[in-house]
């Protein structure tokens, strides 16, 4: 078991690193880097969100709100208060973590659709605040953000961002895999399996739900900050309800409780609209049909279903 669990980690990370390293070879122009960076950013958020949804079994329809808070936190702290980007990013993440902690206590007692509603509400409230307080946020039309500079070095251009984001994704995946495979992560998965069963062996389920909620919010916030600097311009819509839904869809479509599944889901759903742009007016229909079809025929998500299929063909045992 020990090696069986560790092997996918090393092999998976290696394979992911390889894909990320080789992918640029197939990019014909700079635009591909831009799309790829967005895919990587989404993937990092989804790795965090998957800890909450896939492993912890708790749904959130408001994570775009945390993403947006990270983005605006960085934007405001750097442009209006002159903080260095890295400090602004960490300060925003800390604030978002605190916020998640504060709202998490009452919210995480809720279950299923009630939890979905509550997180949705929080996301929407954040979105409205960002939209309304235009003296601070520039209102619905958004605000500009300076490039990311650390110690005099500027992260500029999509190519550089690509390598930064790729490295961060690998880091995020590594950390997520570590967490899942630790006693703490086991307790978290146990909470998903059976809260009662976990409680009677000493797992403080409330604490772990809270922990993972905060962690996933911080992931979203950190990426939000990076996104703001990279894009140079943000609007409150990055924190809209639709973005939250999009993030959850990425996780579920790729495969819940599978870190690599979340990455795959993020990649696919970031690229898909780019491909579907060719359908013009039919884009929404095609996207909706793909979402429905995938979930109907692969209810466990892409990666677990594919792994199962592959395992079955080999006649082996399924290990998504």
């Amino acid at each position: 078991m020990n090696t069986a669990l560790r092997t996918p980690r090393v092999a998976g990370l290696g394979a992911l690193a390889l894909v990320l390293a080789l992918a640029p070879l197939s990019f014909p122009n700079a635009y591909f880097y831009d799309v790829a960076v967005n895919a990587l950013f989404n993937a990092i958020v989804c790795v965090g969100l998957n800890l909450l949804i896939g492993y912890g079994g708790q749904i959130s329809l408001g994570h775009a709100g945390f993403f947006a808070l990270g983005a605006y936190g960085s934007a405001i702290l750097t442009t209006r208060f002159g903080l260095p980007p890295l400090a602004a990013m960490l300060a925003s993440a800390a604030a978002v973590g605190l916020l998640a902690f504060a709202v998490g206590r009452p919210i995480l007692r809720l279950k299923g659709h009630y939890l979905a509603m509550a997180t949705l509400g929080i996301g929407i409230i954040i979105h409205i605040v960002l939209k309304t307080e235009s003296w601070l946020t520039g209102g619905p039309d958004g605000m500009g953000v300076d490039p990311f500079r650390v110690a005099g070095l500027e992260v500029a251009g999509d190519r550089m961002w690509y390598w930064v984001a790729a490295a961060l994704l690998l880091l995020a995946v590594w950390v997520a895999l570590n967490l899942i495979d630790s006693p703490l992560g086991r307790a978290l998965r146990a909470v998903h399996g059976s809260e009662t069963g976990a409680e009677v062996v000493g797992v403080d389920t409330g604490r772990y739900k809270m922990l993972v909620f905060v962690v996933s919010a911080v992931f979203a916030s950190l990426v939000g900050s990076l996104f703001a600097h990279k894009n140079g311009f943000i609007t409150p819509d990055i924190g809209s309800f639709f973005r939250s839904i999009e993030l959850v869809t990425m996780v579920v479509l790729g495969g819940m409780a599978s870190t690599f599944g979340a990455v795959l889901g993020a990649f696919i759903l970031t690229l898909l609209p780019q491909l579907l742009a060719a359908f013009e007016d039919y884009e929404a229909m095609v996207l909706g049909a793909i979402m429905m079809g995938t979930m109907i025929f692969m209810p466990k998500g892409l990666l677990p279903s594919l792994a199962l299929l592959l395992a079955r063909r080999k006649g082996g045992e399924a290990r998504p």
Partner: protein, 384 residues
């Protein structure tokens, strides 16, 4: 795991195929890119803009194109989302290699795209109203429609003429309304106007009587000014009538389409708003230099699409005409030359008015371009 690798590769391959298809140039056409809000909350602006561009590019190509080169039009739908707009702008520049970009249906999408377009040094003509787009002047950025500030100024001037000094504002809390609201607050004092009540509503609100009631109960309100587009102003208009308010009611140029009258019905009677000559084409005096242009465009559009022309379609028309004129004058699609030529646009008569740009003015419209219009018996009445 292997499945993942396989999929990663497959997805990339698919993406390359999907994107690459349009990237291979054959006979060097003039490439014009556009990102428009064809769907989403601003779709009734973006949709006519798209139709207009397609219609005229199609027609020009039939006539042999420009400078002997065909025009290739690449349009993306940003659904009104600024981040999508920025991404599509990037795609137009880096992937599709366009020579010039038209678009940005809304101020938000335009502003987001400018962040990408300006450093890439591609001429860009925005179709959105926000004054921030061209103020301060950005080297590569131009715009065709009147600004929201001009609309506000036109309205306040009209009010001043009628002796109104205390005004209540009600505006949509999304991009267009918000920006218009801010500009209005800024310029109101210049016309001796005091904003005594200031309410907002969301674009999808089914009812705004609560906000209007608050205004109604504010002492001294002499007129109400609504800044917004879409169905919101129609709901405001209906509710305004419903709660029995009778002070003069002003709208912005955001409602200058027949749809507004259709949606708000009788309640729109007597509403005053600033609008471009296009909506009152027939009523313009024969001496107005705009008259032939707007009547021709109106006829073109309405015969092609069997629907009422809107000012937004006109913005796209103006953008395209100025761009093509600049390309002709430049004799090439060299981006820097084209930019310079756009900046030198002078005396162009468009649907929006007379355009004369300069290095300090990348819009080039004067106040004269706006007409004050009143709604009478379900139609526009020119009432300057």
């Amino acid at each position: 795991m292997r499945a993942f690798v396989k999929w990663g590769v497959a997805a990339l391959a698919a993406m390359t195929a999907g994107l690459g298809a349009g990237a291979a140039p054959a006979a060097e056409p003039v490439k014009i890119g556009a990102f428009l809000s064809v769907t989403g909350p601003a779709s009734f602006l973006g949709e006519p803009e798209k139709k207009t561009l397609e219609m005229y590019v199609g027609r020009l190509n039939k006539e042999g194109g420009v400078e002997g080169r065909k025009i290739e039009l690449v349009i993306y739908d940003d659904a009104g989302a600024p981040d999508k707009a920025a991404t599509f702008a990037k795609r137009l520049i880096q992937n599709d290699g366009v020579d010039l970009i038209i678009g940005g249906t809304t101020t938000g999408t335009s502003m987001a795209a400018i962040k990408v377009i300006e450093p890439a040094a591609v001429p860009f003509i925005s179709l959105a109203g926000g004054i921030d787009i061209v103020e301060p002047v950005k080297k590569w950025v131009f715009k065709t429609p009147h600004t929201d500030r001009m609309a506000a100024e036109k309205v306040f001037a009209d009010m001043k003429k009628r002796g109104i000094t205390k005004v209540a504002m009600i505006s949509e809390d999304a991009g267009f309304g918000k920006s218009g609201h801010d500009q209005s607050l800024k310029v109101a004092p210049l016309y001796g106007i005091e904003i005594v009540a200031d309410e907002v509503y969301s674009p999808k609100d089914p009812d705004v009587t609560a906000q209007l009631t608050k205004i109604k109960n504010t002492p001294g309100v002499q007129a109400v000014f609504n800044f917004g587009f879409g169905q919101g102003p129609a709901i405001v208009t209906k509710n305004f009538k419903q709660i029995g308010m009778s002070v003069p009611f002003y709208q912005s140029h955001g409602v200058a389409s027949k749809k507004y009258i259709e949606l708000s019905g009788d309640a729109s009677e007597g509403v005053r708003l600033p609008a471009a000559g296009l909506v009152v084409a027939e009523q313009l005096p024969a001496t107005d230099p705009q008259k032939p242009v707007v009547t021709a465009f109106k006829k073109d559009y309405e015969t092609a699409f069997k629907s009422e022309v809107s000012t937004f379609a006109g913005h796209a028309y103006d953008g395209l005409q100025m761009a093509l004129a600049a390309i002709k004058r430049a004799g090439s699609t060299d981006k820097a030359k084209v930019r310079d030529e756009i900046e030198k646009t002078s005396g162009y008569v468009g649907t929006g008015g007379l355009v004369s740009m300069s290095p300090t003015d990348h819009m080039g419209l004067s106040h004269a371009a706006f007409h004050m219009v009143e709604i009478r018996k379900g139609d526009w009445l020119l009432s300057d």
